[in-house]
């Protein structure tokens, strides 16, 4: 296993063990359920050429994507970059010969994978 794989695996496991991740996932799923308006809803809706768009899966996906991208992703990003999973033994890391590339790439890919996991759960919430 390469250094990249070691760091990816470790960071991925750290994310999955973190309760904060599951709170964010739960939040996005609940959020996703409320994004889709009821037929008699009186609040603002998306319209295309003054018509309600067909509530097809692609339109709902668009709505979900807008809200997720605008609201949930920044929260998830803040969680990923500032959470306890970012603690590194920097006093030791600073005097090791390794280039930081493998570590940063492995941990970065794990962060991205967690964001994909978030989007997957949002999708599941929207379709269910």
């Amino acid at each position: 296993m390469s250094a990249f794989a070691t760091f990816f695996k470790q960071q991925w496991s750290r994310h999955l063990r973190s309760p904060a991740l599951w709170v964010v996932i739960l939040g996005t799923m609940i959020g996703a359920r409320y994004i889709i308006p009821l037929p008699d809803a009186g609040y603002s809706t998306l319209s295309v050429n003054n018509h309600y768009p067909e509530p097809s899966s692609s339109v709902m996906g668009l709505q979900l994507g807008v809200v997720t991208a605008l609201l949930m992703t920044p929260l998830a990003y803040i969680f990923l970059r500032a959470g306890p999973t970012r603690v590194q033994p920097w006093q030791i890391d600073a005097v090791t010969p390794s280039r930081r590339f493998a570590r940063n790439l492995g941990q970065g890919m794990a962060d991205i994978s967690v964001l994909w996991l978030l989007l997957f759960f949002v999708g599941v919430a929207a379709l269910s």
């Binding site: 070691t6 760091f7 750290r14 999973t85 603690v87 920097w90």
Partner: protein, 207 residues
């Protein structure tokens, strides 16, 4: 051999030490001196974690600041304070450090088991560091320094917070490497080292 050549360290206007010249040979050197005299600072300089304000530090005649990567390949450093990733297990922490030292996973696992076994931490290899006591953390900090069989070991207070029996096992591990490595360490338990051979280097306010 690790050499200090007129090495000095200054933080803004405060001089910590000046014009230090000394050669650390293969074997163990215990660094002594009063609290606050700059022992940990000097160890950080020797470990290339900080730059000297004046002079230079050489490994086998080469300035370590100009040959950082080769020097860090043969270095093992256990600082006094480590920001442990609390959610990692001891085994994962060792693998993290091994990966940072470019050691492949298989030898890293074998070495981790051997070192942690010597320090009485093998039973706790899968436990998260969050559950570790102060003494266990100290031993884990020392253990990671031995990964990669370093030729230069710099260890800051390896036996602080340890009971005499555990401190003894740490000292035994360190002194076993004395024939192959330059080892510089500080300890408050110098009296318990009467069975071992070592050099002393005293850092004073006037250094």
């Amino acid at each position: 051999m690790l050499e200090l050549k007129s090495a000095g360290k200054r933080y803004k206007k405060q001089s910590i030490f000046n014009n230090l010249t000394h050669a650390f040979p293969v074997g163990v050197t215990i660094m002594t001196g009063a609290s606050g005299v700059g022992k940990s600072t000097l160890l950080r300089l020797c470990a290339s974690a900080e730059k000297p304000s004046s002079g230079e530090i050489c490994w086998r005649g080469q300035n370590i600041r100009k040959n950082l990567k080769p020097f860090r390949k043969i270095l093992g450093y256990a600082p006094q304070i480590i920001d442990f990733p609390e959610d990692l297990s001891a085994g994962d922490f060792m693998l993290h450090v091994a990966a940072m030292k470019s050691i492949h996973v298989k030898p890293a696992i074998a070495q981790s088991h051997a070192i942690l076994g010597r320090l009485g931490l093998l039973r706790d290899i899968d436990k998260s560091i969050r559950s570790f006591s102060g003494g266990m953390r100290r031993r884990l900090g020392v253990a990671q320094a031995f990964l990669g069989e370093p030729e230069c070991l710099i260890i800051d207070e390896p036996t602080a917070e340890l009971d005499p029996k555990t401190a003894r096992s740490v000292h035994e591990l360190i002194f076993e490497h004395a024939s192959q490595a330059v080892i510089i360490m500080t300890t408050h338990l110098e009296d318990s080292l009467s069975d071992f051979q070592f050099d002393r280097f005293e850092l004073t306010q006037t250094s």
